[in-house]
């Protein structure tokens, strides 16, 4: 078997596994295909996701189901204003053995799981948020003089409610940038609501089965990194990123008027990694411009900061990014 054939097989396996994963999640979660794909993209891109949506849309259910399907260790942290960093990281306690010997032992907090659900992350104080975000970035936690490594795969899903802003601590831009995608959970359609009601108001109990192993997930993450990106696709992603900056040559008028700061290079990384995942979802061997376009909204919406005028005019980041995608030609080189 040639390398190409092997690669083709790997991609086919990937597609198959993703299909199985989607099917299993779909048994619990109704609709929300885009959000599920977004969450999977984040996980396969070895990064984290921020879910935004009003309460009751199944955000927690989605994450819990994902953890069950993947057979990974899952923990949920409900962020509150009095939550302390130690509450999520863990703490050193004095442990007395049966022989009466006393030792200091580090008790791991909920952050030490493969999938962490940080529910309503904006309700905790910045100090606690920082503790979480440090672990997200470094995949390790340092307590005292000891560094504790978090086992892979490590995937944090944070949620926040866009409506209740009172008593919250909005995540600073630098911390928002750590999230691979920001996914908006839409309100379900009528058909979806029927399905939700049917599943949740009857005695029917759905048990999901584990479809992927830890190793398979790590292999899939590695495959994503190996997906090639043609130069023109990469160039397009970079041009989209540049166009989010008001001073850029290709920035549309909307950006020049209403954007204060454009996305950081992490935005381009997120767009391209997301594009790679989407190519694999479709069974393709290379990412395309369409894939970049598809991932642009989720990858950039939390990285584009609007100006006061933009806020006053009620312009949304999604609107700005859509304008960029619409105006920017596919090829310039």
């Amino acid at each position: 078997m040639t390398d190409a054939e092997q690669a083709r097989e790997e991609v086919a396996d990937f597609q198959k596994q993703i299909g199985a994963l989607r099917e299993e999640i779909g048994r619990v979660i109704v609709g929300n295909r885009e959000v599920i794909d977004g969450v999977l993209s984040c996980m396969l891109g070895s990064s984290h996701a921020l879910l935004e949506g009003v309460p009751g849309l199944g955000k927690t259910m989605l994450v819990r189901t994902l953890a069950n399907v993947l057979g990974l260790e899952f923990s949920r942290i409900q962020f509150t204003p009095d939550l302390m960093p130690a509450d999520i990281i863990g703490t050193v306690v004095l442990d007395e053995s049966a022989g009466g010997a006393r030792t200091l032992e580090f008790r791991r907090g909920p952050i030490f799981a493969n999938i962490v659900l940080a529910d309503e992350v904006n309700r905790a104080t910045p100090k606690t948020q920082s503790a979480l975000l440090e672990a997200m970035q470094e995949h390790r936690v340092t307590v005292g003089r000891t560094t504790h490594v978090i086992s892979e795969p490590y995937f944090v899903l944070a949620t926040q409610n866009p409506l209740e802003m009172e008593g919250t601590y909005p995540l600073p831009e630098a911390q928002l940038d750590r999230f691979f995608y920001k996914l908006s959970v839409p309100f379900p359609s009528r058909d979806e609501l029927h399905a939700i009601i049917d599943r949740t108001t009857t005695a029917q109990h759905v048990e999901v089965k584990r479809v992927l192993t830890r190793q398979q997930i790590l292999d899939m993450q590695a495959l994503v990194r190996r997906v090639p990106v043609a130069r023109h696709v990469q160039d397009y992603a970079i041009r989209v990123l540049q166009a989010t900056h008001p001073n850029a040559e290709e920035a549309p008028e909307l950006v020049k008027r209403f954007v204060r700061t454009g996305a950081s290079p992490r935005g381009a990384q997120a767009m391209l990694l997301g594009a790679k995942v989407r190519a694999l979802f479709d069974g393709r061997f290379a990412a395309s411009i369409d894939d970049v376009k598809a991932s642009a909204l989720s990858a950039l919406r939390h990285r584009v900061l609007l100006s006061f005028e933009g806020e006053a005019e009620g312009v949304a980041a999604d609107q700005v990014i859509s304008e960029i995608i619409k105006k920017l030609p596919g090829s310039k080189e």
């Binding site: 190409a4 690669a7 190996r226 090639p228 023109h232 393709r284 061997f285 290379a286 090829s331 080189e333």
Partner: protein
Amino acid sequence: MAPSDGIAQLRRAARRAGRRAHAAAVFSRIALLLPLPLAYAVLVLTFVKTHWLPASSQRAWWLLGGVPLVVFLFGVGRVLFARRPSWQGSIALDQFHGFHDRVTSALSFSQLPDAERTPLMQAAIEDGVALAQQLDPRRAVPLAFPRELGVAFALLLGLCGLSLLEVQHVRQLPPPPSFEPMVMSADDIDLFREVGKDLQAKNDDPNALVAVHRFNQLVEDIAEHRLDRHEVFQRMGELERDLKDNLELDRDARDDGLKGLARELSKSGLSRTAAQALDEKRLADAEKALRELAEKLKKKEGRPSASELDKLRQALEKASRSSEERAKSIDQRRRELEEEHKSLLKKKKDKPDGGAPPDLDKKLADNERRLEHLDREKSRAERSQKQMSELDKQLAQAARDLMRDAGQSAQDLEQGAQDINRMAKQETSEEQKRELLKKLQEMRELMRQQGKGGKDQRERMQKFGQRARGQSGAGQGQPGDGQSEGQQGGKKNGPLRLGSGPGSVPIDIQVPVTQSGQGQGQPGGDKPGGSDPAASQNYGTGHDANLAGNATDLKGKTTDVTAAGVDTGQGVAASQVIFGAAERGFVGRGYKQVFTDYQTVAERALSQDEIPSGYRFYVRRYFQLIRPRE
């Protein structure tokens, strides 16, 4: 299909699609920019056809059309020669077929060396190659007809149509130049008529009279509105030139002749008085002195001695030849100088290459100047000789007769005196010509001033003239009859009919009557008779037959008594006269007297004081305007 063949096929398809995309872009740009020069051409052609643009500027407008043409060419050239994006064709194919960049990625990865290709890249290449058969560049990049090209086509049609269209144009020809007569106020016309009459009366020189006649004719032509401004100035210029012509030369020549005559006559004691008067240009005194000398020669008693007579004879003889000799001397000097000049020219001609003396050219130039000067002097001497010829003849005859018969010589001297008298008259005539020249200049200045003021000033002058004559500006009334004391406000110089005695003839005299009807006429109601002497001698002889008794005998003894009037100092003061003139117009004897006094003083000041010529005009003009009117 081998991967290399497949890649080649992909490249061909991508290139073709790229070319089509490029052509489409060029067509689109042409369609976008072509209306610009076409619209300009349509616009200019429309203006040209409708004669909105003058012919002189049409070329400039057409040349300006180069600007939109350059914009068009530059815009199209920029697209035509622009570097095409590398993957333009393949991306277009991917987008059209919905291949998600599989073709473009395959082409992109195929450019990498084999060693750098990953298995996934190789798989992507093979994936792309597998699509090669499905590619259709023609459908992927259609060469559509740009919508804007319709506009350009419409403009082109319009341009063709306009170029074939002939717009009839009615050319407005300028109206023929209208005759605008030179208008001078009646007051000024009267003034210059008076000037002409005065000059005519004073002159008896035929040349001067011709000039005066031409002047009068000019004034009449202006009065009759027969001349326009240009013609008036032309006629004035011609008259002025004719008057000036030879006036100065004649005077100088006569002065030269008289001086030469005086120089020779002064050598004799008998003719010294006449010589001195001639030298000082006192021609009347010179005439008188010559007549006295002639009387002296006629008398038998107290005649001059023989030596004195001989000296006189010699003086008269030399004096008679002075003009002629002077002319001959000048002619001789000129001939000598001419010879010298010819010799110098010959010398120069013989040695053309620098062999001639260095100051030869300077001498030649100097000679030319002297020759010119002598020519002028010769002309002046000849003119002088001509003027003095009669006098010289008389003096020569007197010198010849003096030796034979002193009486005959005295007659010759008297004729010479008459000739001097003729010269004096000629001088007077020249003065009159100068006077006429002065009046011409005044007239020209007046017309210039009127030209500046325009119609308004003419109307003001007309009103002023009417007021100055004691008329109101409100039209011409009926002439008053004098006895009715001029009730109407029109022309008030009405005839006053006087005298109603028996045998008398009524006479009409012009009496200036004021606007209020209080005339200044002579109180002639008690004057008997009229202007008929026969009738006036029969006054008081008539007798009414119905009256009883004899007529009164008038042949009584009467004595003529003459009484001289005494100025009591109780007359009207000058200020009152001027005040009256301001109210009633510049008429009346009293005003005339005051005006004459004032004008005399003003003229004296003008002649004695240093007054700019411009001011002189205004002062004289002022006095002309306030002069007494009939």
